[in-house]
Every structure is written in structure tokens, then in C-alpha cells.
Symmetry: C2
Subunit: 354 residues, 2 copies
């Protein structure tokens, strides 16, 4: 007997009926009336209208089962959320406002309709938070692994775009929020039940790994200050992203380990597992916080205090000054807790390598 | 001993070095100075500037090994070409000018650097023909199958955008070029050597299937005439695409089998294989020709002759009038070669269905 409703297999429903159901799951996030969407899902291409005087921003991120996620650890709703979140974070890191998304999904025939709807429910939930409209995409079958590729388009005023190359010697280096929690969350989920951990800490770690909060509102507050030089998100880890800024800007940098806002739950989990929370913070990646520079100079300490207060008031997110930008000859170093200065390698995640 | 140059495996090169080599393969198609590209590859998102007064168009197409292509039949260069071509065709079908592309690639670790460079060489070749710049993307490993997802952005003046919903009863139905050759090409490649076919016909069939020519220039000439109502490309086959126009426009339609510009090489191959070339033309898909409507009325025959002449002069591509748009009650029908009127089912390719 053929199954019904959400338990039906997608191969029993077919492509066009599935797309219709998924559009239903998106609800307002698939309509976008008045949000610059002239035509969304349902023609050869989406037709969009960016705001006058803005430049366009475009980013995409391809996630493949077995490489970027494990369906045993990642519920479909969180997968949809995260696939959108990583792209919103990229637009935020440019100082932009994300507006539209295209969703490409390669689905294994054994999936149920309910499972695919959950992926879309995750996309819809996050899209709703930031006024993003899903305006198109592609849905097809994939024999061996689930594939999800999101392309996000955004816009920004010319003067507010924050490139990697905008850092100068003397600038302060700052980071939003807490770091290391996403990597700690992965360690927690990979070995769940083997640690004694408070339920609220477990929830925090799980959220950090599976349902990250892209810093879209934070980026908007920061660029409005007019103080931001270079900016990156921490998708590949603080060390790797700092190296990218340094390389693009032609400078050096020094950070202080004791200034890094390492997540307290990560510290507590690391203690139990015999892991190094600083390693998670520097190299773990997936934190989706913002790393950026603010010019140094006479009035800077006051400006930084103001910026920090403004951001925390508007978004609840704290700011930490973690170091300074230096001339290129200084390289990239970290002063560790003993006061010793050591080179900081980029050492992020690199695909293909063994 | 580790292999060198193009024979190296991508896992021996690593993600960042591979991306650098691929940017090199793109050459001018990866730079785009003066082409509305403020910042291309190399930051969190691309920064683009569309022309004043234009609307944005966005489309993406996900191609997965084993579903959309077979690496035994498709050389990597043609795969890259086709992945871009199908998206350019979508932008053309909206009456737009494609400008920028983002390339997402999921690569199996056993690929050589040379193989991946060939994919990019195919993208670069077609991009160069139409002034497209590759401005970003994502490259990662994929354990089981090659994945390629292109997102193409374009622009169009508001008055020149051609929606599916723009058809009205009384309009003429037209199609560019020849149809059925892509499906014939697939049949030819799947059973190569089993047919007796002239080398130039073999080349034509192979090109139609592996290296389709998106009708970007043709679309530009057509929309400039101000005559085009609805327009679709034939990616899913003439029957399916006609149904999409009819459904979106709330009308009916009738076509004549004898008016369909079925490719002569498809007819000749079909004769040898005992296949039906009309079936390839109606349901085979992947022809990437344009199906569109032009208003009927007193001056129409003259207008159609002029449009046809203008298009052929500018692009070398012929036009065929294949039928008329009718009131909704008429449904979608075809007059076959015996003069009998029969319903025309949509019956295109649908993913997931058995």
C-alpha cells in the first residue's frame, strides 16, 4: 500500500507536486511581495529589483552529505537552517543586507516528503527572521548523497561594503560573540552521552553547531558606525580568517590568547574531554561570528567603547578586542597565556587533502 | 611517486591551490574588469553593479553525475560548457542579458587536476562568448558523485522581460532553430558505432547533446522587436514548456506537427534506429531553443516575416511558426500529419518518478 501525506516517498509524489508542496512550506518566505521580488519561483529565472544606489552581493555554499554533515547528527530542519545561515553570514561579512535565496536540492529517492519539508521548514524559519525570500532554485534526484546548495543575493551601499583588504597597520582587531562553541558542539554531538553536561549547556552546544545565528543585524550596526575596515566571518576558523584578512590587506597581525572570547560551555566540555578549547576557538570554524578591524588612533578607545555599547544594546551581542593589525614584516602571531609570542598558522579546514 | 602537473590528484594539491589554478584557467572570464564586477572571486561574497534602470534575473541548475550526465559519454570540458549553457538559456528565456556566474563544484578525490581544469575550460569558453564573468562559487569534495551547480545572474530592462504568463488567445506560437537534435544526440552517443552516420552529422548530434548553444543573442534580437509575449526555453521539451506557458497564461494552444522544425539529422538517425523523431522533438528536451508568442492581428503576417528576417540576418538562426494560442477551453492539442487533432500531453522529464 502506498503511504500517504508526509510519509510518502518523494518518488511516489514526483518533482512538480513536490515543488508545489515545498513552496507551501515556505509560506511568506516564498512570496516576498513588496520585498523587491517581481517574480519568484515559477519561471525560467527570478526577477528582482535591488534598491536604488545599491551594489549587489552574491555568495553560494555547497553542502554534501558525508562531507559537510551527517544525517545521523543533523536533523533536516537544522540542515536547511544552516545551509541558509552560512550564506547569510557571508553577506553580513561584506557589510550587506541579504535579500533573496535560490535553493538547489539533490534528493535521494528514499526520502519521505516530510523529511524534505523539514529541510524547507528550517530554511523558512531563518528566512523569516531576516526577511529573505526564496525566489528560485532546482530540485532533482541524487542517487548517492543529499546535496544542498544555496545561493544568496544581497545588497549594500557602496560606502558600507567591507572587504577583506580593508585592514591597515595600527587597526584594532575585534570579534563578535563567543568562539569555539560550534566545534565544541560537534564534539558533543559526535560522542553524546559520554559527557556529563547540564541540559542548558547541551542545548547551547547543539545550537551552536546545528543552528548558528548569522550576524546580519550585528553587521548592519557595525557598518553604520563607519568605523569598520576589513571584515570576515569565522566560517573557516579565526586563525584562517585572520590570515585571509592579513594576506588581502598586505599587513601583519598579533592577537592575545587571553583576549579571545572563548565560549564558557566549550571550556567546560573541553575540560571533560581533555580537549583544548583554544584549539576549537582558533581552528574549529563554523562559529559564524564576525572578525573585523577598526582604525587605531587617538580617539579609538572611546570609539571602541561606544561601538561595543551600541552593538550590545541593539543586538545583545558582545564585542571583544583581540589584538592589533601590524606592518607586514611582523607576520601573524599570538601571545599565549604565558606571555610568549608564537607564530599563528592558518591551519583551517581544506577540502580534498588527506 | 607523486604525479605532477595536470596528472596530479586534487587531494595532493589541496583546496586553495586548486582554486588558484582554476582561476587561472578562467582567465578574462574570471576577472571581468569593467563588466560590473567590483569584486569577484576572493572575498566572502562577490560585489556587482547592475546597469542603472535594470532588473535582476537569477537562475540556477544543479547537475549530478548519474542523473544528468554520464562521465563515460560527457567529456569534462563539455560538462562545464553545458552547466553554464543551461543557465544562460534560462536568462535568455526571460529576455535578459546574462552577466555573472557562481560555480559550485563537488569533486571526487580521485579526479586529476587536469580533469577539473577541463571543466573550467568549458565554462571559460562559453563565458567568453557572451561576456560572462565567473565571480564566485564553492569547491569542495564529494565522496560519491560529481556535483556541479551554476547560478547565473543577469539583467533586463523592465519592459523587455518575457514571462511565461504573457501569452494571449490569438497569439502566434514560434520556435527558434531546430528541435529534436539533443535527444537524437543522446541516442547516438548511447549506442555509438551501431549506426551508419556521416561524420558531419555525428558532429552535429554530439554538439547538440553535449555543447548546446544558448540563444542569448537571439533573445536579445527578439525582445528588441517589442513583439514577444510569453517565452520559455525548451529545456524540458516542447510539449512540457508549451504546457507551462498555457498554464501560466490561462489559455489553450494548438500546434501543427508538420510545422515543427525537426532537425534533419535527428530524422535521419531516427530512421536507422526505428525511433520517432517527432517524439524526440516534443518530449526529448535539452534543445535550448526558445518557444515564444507574438500577438496575432491584422499586421501580424508581415511582422512575423520581418522578425524572422531580422533574426536570421543577425544570428543565422531560423524562426518557425508552429501554431496558435487559443482560449483556455481549447486545451492543448496537436494536428498530426494525417490532419487529426489530438490532445498533447505535457509528459516531460520529471525527477524522482519511477
Amino acid at each position: 500500500m502506498q503511504k500517504k501525506g508526509k510519509d510518502r516517498y518523494i518518488q511516489d509524489l514526483g518533482e512538480f507536486a513536490l515543488i508545489e508542496r515545498l513552496a507551501g512550506v515556505l509560506g511568506p518566505a516564498g512570496q516576498g511581495a513588496g520585498q523587491g521580488v517581481i517574480r519568484g519561483i515559477g519561471d525560467d529565472a527570478a526577477v528582482l529589483q535591488n534598491s536604488p544606489g545599491t551594489r549587489l552581493l552574491a555568495a553560494c555554499d555547497l553542502l554534501i552529505e558525508g562531507v559537510h554533515f551527517d544525517l545521523n547528527l543533523t536533523p533536516p530542519r537544522q540542515l536547511g537552517w544552516k545551509a541558509l545561515a552560512v550564506n547569510l553570514s557571508d553577506i553580513a561579512a561584506m557589510g550587506g543586507r541579504p535579500r533573496w535565496a535560490l535553493v538547489s536540492l539533490g534528493l535521494k529517492p528514499g526520502f519521505t516528503v516530510g523529511f524534505v519539508e523539514e529541510i524547507y521548514a528550517g530554511i523558512a524559519a531563518l528566512a523569516g527572521m531576516f526577511g529573505i525570500t526564496v525566489v528560485g532554485g532546482d530540485t532533482c534526484s541524487s542517487p548517492a548523497c543529499l546535496v544542498i546548495d544555496l545561493c544568496v543575493l544581497g545588497e549594500a551601499r557602496r560606502t558600507e561594503i567591507t572587504y577583506r583588504s580593508g585592514a591597515h597597520a595600527g587597526d584594532y582587531l575585534l570579534v563578535t560573540g563567543k568562539i569555539g562553541a560550534a566545534a565544541a558542539g560537534f564534539a558533543y554531538l559526535s560522542a553524546e552521552g559520554q559527557q556529563k553536561i547540564k541540559p542548558e549547556s547541551a542545548a547551547e552546544l547543539t545550537w551552536a553547531q546545528l543552528q548558528p545565528q548569522p550576524r546580519v543585524k550585528e553587521a548592519a550596526v557595525l557598518v553604520r558606525s563607519g568605523l569598520i575596515g576589513a571584515m570576515n566571518d569565522l566560517s573557516d576558523g579565526l586563525a584562517s580568517e585572520l590570515h585571509e584578512i592579513v594576506q588581502a590587506s598586505g599587513c601583519g597581525a598579533q592577537i592575545r590568547a587571553e583576549r579571545l572570547p572563548v565560549s564558557p560551555v566549550a571550556v567546560s566540555l573541553a575540560r571533560q574531554l581533555g580537549a583544548d578549547p583554544l584549539h576549537w576557538a582558533l581552528y574549529g570554524g563554523e562559529d559564524y561570528e564576525l572578525l573585523f578591524t577598526v582604525p587605531g588612533g587617538k580617539g579609538s578607545p572611546l570609539q571602541l567603547r561606544r561601538l561595543s555599547r551600541t552593538l550590545e544594546k541593539a543586538t545583545g551581542t558582545p564585542l571583544s578586542v583581540i589584538g592589533r593589525v601590524l606592518p607586514p614584516a611582523a607576520g601573524v602571531t599570538m601571545i599565549d597565556s604565558s606571555g610568549a609570542t608564537k607564530p599563528l598558522s592558518p591551519h583551517g579546514y581544506s577540502h580534498f587533502e588527506k
